[in-house]
Symmetry: C2
Subunit: 154 residues, 2 copies
């Protein structure tokens, strides 16, 4: 862990508040070098998925030409939300370091505790209902996938 | 719920297998019209966040010029993973309908049960360690945010 990367993320997060973004930033570091940086740009770009970690992960993958961040570390100004946590597991960096906590974020009005609570509920009981609709074709895309000889697994 | 939208998502998911994508697709529907569609393009674009739901949500927000999907429904060929579930909560559509389940996806090698298990663990015990680093500046971005008079809250 190199503290200067976390300090850089914090400084970027502060600056981002004055650039029409939320107070969040993240860096992807590989072998001691920053290979990608991202700031929150949800409202600036009308993209609810544009959290700092997501932006940094996508940029790092673009730079590396890979959908995996093997051997990379993610430094974030704040603890990841459930969406970013999911993205981290799909991208598979080695480690994540963060400075502010969920509690710090919640005190400023960014409360993802609600999402963590919702994840634990059955889909039909969530505040945004997630409804399983039975369809005889539902598994067909997976059958197509399994029988496809040439494919990139991930 | 209009079954034709789910059937359309399933058909797109099947087709996507032959377009170098994973077997997943999703639609955003507003007032009976498809306003955005997305297919999985993780490996095609080297973007681990490019799940079908994420692509459809981002495209719908672009079309609407908004970071919220108020009054929209999401139709997905498969039950959302934790990352997509998080994005759904940030985008706030009214409802989510899906055809295949986690179990169907896992049988084809797409297992997100592991991520759901990881979410429930303390950060330091996760397979990708998420480490809280104490820094005296950690809360400064939030202080900057709170004291900023003009900002778009979300």
């Amino acid at each position: 862990m190199e503290k200067r990367f976390l300090q850089q993320a914090i400084a970027m997060a502060m600056e981002n508040v004055h650039l029409e973004g939320g107070p969040f930033a993240a860096l992807v570091v590989r072998e001691g070098n920053v290979i990608a940086a991202g700031c929150n740009r949800v409202t600036r770009t009308n993209d609810p998925t544009a959290h700092a970690e997501m932006v940094a992960i996508r940029e790092a993958c673009r730079v590396l030409g890979s959908f995996q961040l093997t051997g990379c570390d993610l430094y974030s100004s704040c603890e990841p939300c459930p969406m970013c946590l999911g993205a981290i597991y799909w991208a598979r960096p080695a480690r994540v370091y963060f400075a502010a906590t969920h509690a710090d974020a919640a005190a400023a009005g960014f409360d993802d505790a609600f999402i963590y609570e919702q994840i634990a509920l059955p889909g039909s009981e969530r505040s945004i209902p997630m409804i399983h609709v039975l369809d005889p074709q539902a598994a067909r895309p997976f059958e197509e996938w399994v029988s496809q000889p040439q494919k990139t697994e991930y």
